[in-house]
Symmetry: C2
Subunit: 425 residues, 2 copies
């Protein structure tokens, strides 16, 4: 059995970064740039006015004050979107709107609040201004030729606005990984079916599909494979259209041989199949025709936790992201924990940021089949391999699964415990 870190290293060393595709910037939110972007023109493209007012020659108003205004002749008016074909000579001013190009000869703008109408075509300037006042220089945001983005940048809204501002309608981004998802087991039925005695609904495919989407991938549902080599092989072949294959179930001691041997028959090279952690010890990782294959355990919580620790970083790397892992913070433990030694535990928990730091507390029953506690958790407390007791107040490492919630209002303590109504088994 290998450690979580050894497993992550084994996985990430074998994960390729996917190729690129050119997409419309309106569809690019959250995508990863796959090109360096250089500015083909400066931003702003030309000197323009930062406010509504009058373009002037600073030297003409050097002595202006409310008591002794400088009177200038208004020779034109420039709306945003237009240029003036006039140029300022001594004693001239041009009325100018925010964003309009500065006319020739002008070297300052006086905001309209510091002027008075002088009657006819005259304006009275009430205050002296330094050269450059209220003028936005060309290229003060982006210079022509500047590398504005490096490949690897994540396209959040301001970046998309910047690309639009430079006139870029399309950009190269790394492809989103297509992820084939296969549930295995004789006990599983699809949501439209009625479970017979001994059967349960296939829930892992849906949880995994949502995790894949949240991680930026495109889920492909391969359905349910029964516990025989033909059915398993036929479903796994469908998965070869994907960039990465996930199976759930059929990897514990007794069952695993079938999945392992079927993968082997297809040419899979297995890198490891057990990790020293709980939940999620039975976790296999291999390579099949060049694509990563994860054999995740079948218990719903083990499936989801294994995805978080191993598959999500792989999907992040495939997309060319630089941050592969969830945020890890040190938190003060609010209630003690105990376990047996040897395996590291990932304890479903509620983390919360307080003004004095992070806190964390286990939430709900921790059995690997108990989905409720995973639903309630926003974090996983790392309970180290060889520790057996963690006292209240200890500093523990915590993986944040939902940092927004952890940074939000304090969770309602009543919500920590299931409060069933009309309970009846």
């Amino acid at each position: 059995m290998i450690s979580v870190e050894e497993a992550q290293e084994s996985i990430l060393s074998r994960i390729p970064i996917l190729g690129r595709e050119r997409i419309y910037i309106a569809d690019a939110l959250g995508r990863v740039l796959a090109e360096d972007v250089f500015a083909s023109r400066p931003l702003p493209p030309w000197a323009n006015s930062a406010m509504d007012g009058y373009a002037v020659r600073a030297r003409d108003i050097a002595e202006a004050s409310p008591e002794s205004p400088a009177t200038l002749r208004v020779i034109d008016e420039i709306q945003a979107g237009f240029e003036s074909d006039k140029s300022l000579g001594p004693g001239d001013a041009i009325r100018i709107m925010t964003g309009a190009p500065i006319p020739g000869g002008a070297d300052a703008v006086v905001m309209v609040e510091l002027t008075e109408c002088g009657g006819g075509d005259e304006v009275r300037i009430l205050q002296a201004m330094p050269e450059g006042e209220a003028i936005r220089a060309p290229g003060e945001d982006v210079r022509k030729g500047e590398r504005v983005f490096e490949a690897g940048a994540i396209l959040l809204p301001p970046a998309i606005g910047m690309l639009a501002g430079m006139g870029r309608a399309n950009v190269y981004v790394t492809r989103r990984p297509r992820v084939a998802i296969l549930s295995t087991g004789e006990e599983l039925v699809e949501l439209h079916e009625e479970p017979a005695p001994g059967q349960i609904y296939n829930s892992n495919s849906y949880a995994l599909a949502a995790q894949v989407r949240e991680a930026g991938g495109e889920p492909i549902l391969l359905g349910i494979a029964r516990d025989n080599a033909e059915d398993l092989e036929s479903h796994l072949r469908d998965g070869l259209a994907a960039d990465l294959i996930l199976t759930s179930g059929g990897v514990s001691v007794g069952d695993f041989d079938l999945v392992k041997s079927t993968l082997g028959d297809l040419g899979n090279e297995m890198h490891f199949w057990r990790v020293r952690m709980k939940p999620g010890k039975p976790m296999a990782f291999g390579t099949l025709e060049g694509r990563p294959v994860f054999g995740l355990p079948g218990n719903p919580v083990s499936t989801m936790v294994s995805f978080e620790l191993f598959v999500r970083p792989a999907l992040m790397k495939m997309q060319g992201k630089s941050i592969l892992h969830r945020p890890l913070v040190l938190a003060r433990l609010l209630a003690p924990l105990s376990k047996s030694p040897e395996r590291r535990h990932y304890v479903r928990a509620l983390a919360h940021w307080e003004e004095e730091g992070w806190t964390a507390t286990a939430v709900g029953v921790q059995g690997s089949n108990i989905i409720q506690s995973m639903v309630r958790a926003n974090a996983l407390i790392i309970f180290p391999e060889y520790e057996t007791e963690l006292a209240e107040g200890c500093q523990v490492q915590v993986v944040l699964l939902d940092e927004g919630a952890a940074l939000g209002p304090r969770p309602d303590p009543d919500a920590l415990v299931a409060a069933p109504r009309n309970a009846e088994i």
Copy 2:
């Protein structure tokens, strides 16, 4: 001029929660439940084995030990997905796989590692087990009739797995807001056009569309309206198909009359049109035929910051979310800031979580036309209205725009400053 808090209160008091729609759970990631979900059956649905082993009667193996094993007769084998029609009598055992239903008469499961093959149909049990050992009780995760989710719950992957586990293929969720986005101004051209002198690309529509998507809404691009009443009115009428209308530009002192009067002609009731903040002072909010209308300023950064503070919380409320605002944290200021009094500033910044707490530092040039600093920022420092100096080391309130990045690896200090290459204006 009203304060940011007064503006937010004015807005949120007038924002409705949208109606609901029924969708497939595979499409429900991140959506907000619009129904209470009760369990129509327990989870697990019946007692089942937590491991591969033998179902036994605990009293039959009460004296078992490695030296003196209890020998039982194996009368059946149960795979997951099937029931046994046999029941255990004294001295009987049934081979059972993880997840398979516990047979009648059995009250414990002994894991296979604590047994030995006894030859023929016999198994030797090497250890006594308490009643209930390795048996998952029906309803231990979810009891029948239990309210598993309340309306308002956000459907993250574990919740989607839980819904699938209960056989729910579809759920009611709150509709996503459709948000009409209109840019105004004679100076704007679309991305496929070549700007004439004095013209610039329409970038606000793209930044806003991305912000709308990030906030869970569906953007509808209405294009560019020119500065005349007919064009503005015709575009605004298109926006009446949406749940909320955003305009950008045309709300500063001189220009605003046209947008304001055109909206008024259409029946808009204006609630406020200036907020005591920077960037983003000219920000109008009204109600047009029952739908919220936001007149956002035209400077790109003002547009985005106004969206963050005013539109995003409104979209969150429309979706029925309980957390409306971005996380707010106290951070230690790494470099001093100064400003003039009166307006509150939202300073583009890099926030970072250190083991001893949050830090924040302003990033880049803060002009409201400088998009680069908004691209680089992951947070906004709140510089209060009547303060003019904030010293290094001060505690400041910080709005986190990208908590993942703020909790990730420390930002590269070289990335704080623009490092243009081949610069040429």
